[in-house]
Amino acid sequence: MGLPAEISALPATLALAASAVALGLVAGWPAGVACGVFQFAGRRLALALLLLPLLLPSFLFAIGLSMLRLGLRLPDVAPFSGLTGCVWAHGALTTSLAAWGALLAVRGISGSQADAALIAGGEATLWRAALRLAWPSALAGALLGGAIAAGDSGPGVLLGWPTAAGEILAAFAARYDFAEAVRRSLALGAVTLAAALAVARSGAFALETAVTARDPSRAFARRVSPFGRTAGLAVCAIALLICLLPLAGLLLPLLRATDFVRAWSEVIRTLGPTICYSLGAGLIACAAAWPLAAWAHRRYRRERWLLVVMLALLALPAVLPALGWVRLANAAPAVLDPLVRGRFAVALILALRLLPVAFVLALRRWSAMPRSWRDAAALHGVPRIALLRRIVLPHQLPGIALALGLVALLAAAEVTIVLLLHPPGAASLPLAIFTIMANAPEALVASLCLCYVAPVLLAALALPHAFSALR
């Protein structure tokens, strides 16, 4: 009798996670720095494309790669299947996280710091300094993506690479042993958690520096130069190759046939629950994150520890809280079913999963509010309620709106939690795509994917603009 499959799959899982992290760093780190330092044509589109892996489920990238290969009649070899295929599918996320981490760090450089670097050694010195500054954030982002990849079974199952998460899912689906699935998920969760904690502890300081924008001096103006244009071309190529190409595979069948009538009926059927889950998750996450961030901000030990906890929470397999909630709901009295088995429960667990995102944005917003406002209000005897209503809330609202939108988009992309918890007859749109893609005609699947990807791309185009408006 050999080792349990999920244990023997650990080396393959680690190889996948490490390769995805490496790809994320090689592609995402310089791409994020280039987007932060230079102004170039296509920058906004490239940033939107680099956001897509955060907003779309990983299984779409894996299936897209598979369909791209079949559509182009290429052989079943690297880079479309096996380890390289999985690295490509997961690498989209690690690249995205590394790039955005780097971008956030670079945008913390003030105008005077940039001027000093330019005087000291020109653009090359600024570029090197920005790369050095962005390294911890990019590394933390890529490692977080790697931890998420290690706990995600989808691409491995679809592209033929054995992972521990895939083996757990296989054992669960084949043996119908709920308790065993929970035990095994906890075991994998513990491994992921340990890795995530190590990453989070080392990366939390960099992240804290990146998100708590306490430097009120002007950010430096992005530069326009020949080097910047070349770097911009490279960024666009990275975004197209890593993030867009797999999705293009999903849409290839549209060249032969479309089925927008049926796709639209699916969209109509699932629109209500999708909006309910995603907006509900956004509202709950914001309601929890803002007071928590208010309690922690400017108390640096608290800030850092909460960031560690949040990053670890994000790295845990999504199936864990869902399985736990199923257990809890079964043990609860029937009278509570509308709460524990309804749409609210789905939104609640999604919010718990995505709380870290809202928390980071909340922390950033609280930190951008000058302490002097509160001191002045105290000095003039302004009542707390009035301060909250007239000053604090208007200042926080843009941040809350952004967090709500971002959490809602991320929640809409989550499939595992919705699959396990959604009340009968209330599937979300990504879940509908997930459940029909095996046997539905290609034209229908492709039409549905377009109905989903197009609005997400539009949102991704708007989000960086909204984020920069927060500064």
Binding site: G2, A5, S8, F59, S66, L70, R73, P75, D76, S153, G154, V157, L158, G160, P162, G166, E167, L169, A170, A171, F172, A173, A174, R175, Y176, F178, A181, V319, V326, R327, N330, A334, V335, L336, D337, P338, L339, R341, L419, L420, H422, P423, P424, G425, A426, A427, A432, F434, T435, I436, M437, A438, N439, A440, P441, E442, L444
Partner: protein, 335 residues
């Protein structure tokens, strides 16, 4: 305060109960095939059908698992299973209840549970799908044993035998060949480099794309690919040998179902000749079990198919043992 919360929760629950008549159906049948049937029932009876479909493609944790997890307080009324084995597993786990439907008259009893925990209707068949550009007319594989034929080494594929109808196929091989011969057959599959893919849908796609000359899948996959104009065709294997494995649907009443009356009505509808006719004429292209109901044009009627003689009730225990042991190890070694 506590009383107020209880009253509020009770009020919400009561309000939820006051809605229109409904039936909650979990279905492992593909959504595109199950939903039109559910909508037709809803139109005829006014009973709202809340359908929860499943997927084989990405190895979801599965509706059977969800049903087992919800056993103490089920949300589901009816499980519409794509095969009788999953239905049998629910019986063995104490999740199903007996229901002898009057609508089952005319359905052959050998596909159903003698204690009426599941009743089978319209069937698919396990078929060999082949690429017409890669397999000459005179060389078409006619038997599942061709998977182990050295002539096709590295050119054949099948789905993971831990899941879906392929798991049922594997259990049927053990049941009909005997343990020793079945293990030898699986060893021969390994030696012949038969590729294990994620699902029957993937088998269809990869054969259609020319990655493999042929593979083992279900009738609906093969006929669906043909309808999309792919260069594929299919054969019912072993028609001059042991026979083709049939995979009928099964309707299961869930024990403690929240809406037992509407559940029985839905099961009656599933077992009716009308549903068998609809499943035959739709993209599902399923063969009616009832004599006299017209079948799909691309498949012969049930009476003309030599079926693999298996006891579907026995397959359940066989499959449970295999999935925990031999198949699990074999599948993980094949990756």
């Amino acid at each position: 305060m506590k009383h107020w919360l209880c009253a509020l929760a009770f009020g919400i629950a009561a309000a939820a109960q006051l809605g229109a008549a409904e039936v909650v159906v979990y279905s492992s049948v593909d959504d595109v095939f199950a939903r039109p049937i559910a909508e037709r029932f809803q139109k005829q009876t006014g009973i709202e059908v809340k359908l929860v479909p499943d997927t084989e493609e990405t190895k979801s944790t599965g509706l059977v698992n969800r049903l087992i997890a919800e056993k103490k307080r089920p949300q589901c009324d009816v499980f519409w299973s794509g095969d009788p084995v999953r239905a049998g597993i629910l019986k063995s786990k104490g999740v199903s209840a007996a229901y002898e439907s009057p609508a089952a008259a005319g359905l052959p009893p050998q596909f159903s549970d003698p204690e009426h925990h599941f009743t089978s209707f319209s069937t698919r068949a396990r078929v060999i799908i082949y690429n017409t550009n890669l397999v000459a007319a005179g060389e078409v594989p006619r038997s599942v044993r061709d998977l182990a034929n050295p002539k096709w080494k590295g050119r054949a594929c099948m789905a993971n035998p831990l899941f879906g109808t392929t798991s049922m196929q594997a259990a049927a091989w053990f049941e009909t060949m005997g343990d020793e011969a079945a293990r030898a057959f699986f060893a021969a599959l390994t030696a012949n480099d038969v590729r294990i893919l994620s699902s029957n849908g993937e088998v269809k796609r990869r054969v259609a794309a020319g990655d493999f000359a042929f593979g083992l899948t279900d009738t609906d996959d093969a006929i669906g690919a043909m309808a999309e104009g792919k260069p594929v065709n299919f054969v019912l294997p072993d028609q001059d040998g042991a026979g083709t494995l049939l995979v009928p649907n099964a309707a299961v009443l869930i024990a403690g179902a929240p809406h037992p009356d509407t559940a029985r009505k839905f099961i009656d509808y599933l077992l009716s000749a009308e549903t068998e006719r609809a499943l035959a004429q739709s993209e599902a292209t399923q063969i009616p079990l009832r004599a006299g109901v017209p079948g799909p044009s691309k498949l012969p009627p049930l009476a003309e198919i030599k079926a693999l003689p298996v006891d579907y009730a026995k397959l359940v225990t066989r499959l449970e043992a295999l999935q925990a042991g031999f198949l699990k190890e074999w599948a993980s070694q094949r990756k």
